[in-house]
Amino acid sequence: MICWSCEKNAGDGMLCAGCGAVQPPLRTADHFRVFGLPRKFDLDVADLEWRYKEMTKVLHPDRFARADARARRASLERSVQLNLAWRTLSQPVARAEYLLSLEGIEVGEPAGSKRSDRPDSRATQPVDTALLVEVMELREALAEARARGDSAKVASLVAGVQALHNREMAEVAAGFAAAQPNLAAITARLVAARYYRRFLEEAEPHEGEEDAAK
């Protein structure tokens, strides 16, 4: 890329390799490349955070308060790109879904469009049905425990589902670590994790609910 300021080759960093002027973001850069990291699931979040903080300092608006309009704009666009990349990669779930989206897989979409009017459609999704049965039973158990005001039962259900969620995410990590990742299997794990996460969100005590349950 040619630097807008010195009109020489800027390299592909945030700042021009020659004159140090901030460069607009590369449109083609994926979230990993923003941090100069390889595209893989297994990453050191502490290292990622260090990179994020260092880059944030470089892009801090105070540094561009009196800068050229093009530099201000470029730094702002870089910040937006950096923040989105950080939010996506720092969370394992978002990172996994992002990696799949780079492969053209949107988690939840293919299974969501599956129709049950074909007689065999459920038979071909045995895992899915078993998962739905499990999730429905868990949700019913949660609703019943809440109706009884049984907070110990709610807590044990939450702990159980949290363990299930952790198990799925451990399988996701293992799946990506394989020499030939099975993307369909990883997607199924992420879908299961979503159902468990939805349960956990629902189980979080809301304001006033403690009283309402009594």
Binding site: E109, R115, S116, M136, R194, Y195, Y196, F199
Partner: protein
């Protein structure tokens, strides 16, 4: 999220919440989920010997629109034949409840739940064709 009056009405006073005996030969159970949001919906039908849906129940764990969609679906299909119930379309639910585009998948879920319940009932009937139906009407 601004819900329409009809959605709020079904959400606050859901019709036909509950369960039917899923082991009964004249009961069909449909269980569907939305992987995109993690909602789950169970819809059950009890079918008379004449092939008419005489009772319908649902349990939905999800947003207000998903609850309203399944509540409306059970209300509609009661008294319908299986063929009539098969022809219920999610677009009708969208129209009746005035669902915004982001909530259309809730109506799809309800349509899928009806079809899945009917498929389950028919599978059971095929499996026990030689036995007399236990359905009361």
């Amino acid at each position: 999220m601004a819900y329409s009056g009809k959605v709020i009405d079904h959400y606050e006073n859901p019709r036909n919440v509950g369960s039917l005996d899923k082991e009964a030969p004249n009961v069909g159970t449909g269980l569907v989920g939305a992987p995109a949001c993690g909602d789950v919906m169970k819809l059950q039908i009890q079918v008379s010997d004449a092939g008419v849906i005489e009772d319908a129940k649902f349990k939905t764990f999800g947003c207000g629109s998903a609850i309203a969609s399944s509540s409306l679906a059970t209300e509609w299909i009661k008294g319908m034949t299986l063929e009539q119930a098969m022809s219920v379309r999610n677009t009708q639910i969208v129209q009746e409840l005035n669902l915004p585009p982001v909530k259309i998948h809730c109506s799809v879920l309800a349509e899928d739940a009806i079809k899945s319940a009917i498929a389950d009932y028919r599978r059971k009937q095929r499996g026990s064709q030689t036995q007399p139906s236990l359905g009361e009407s």
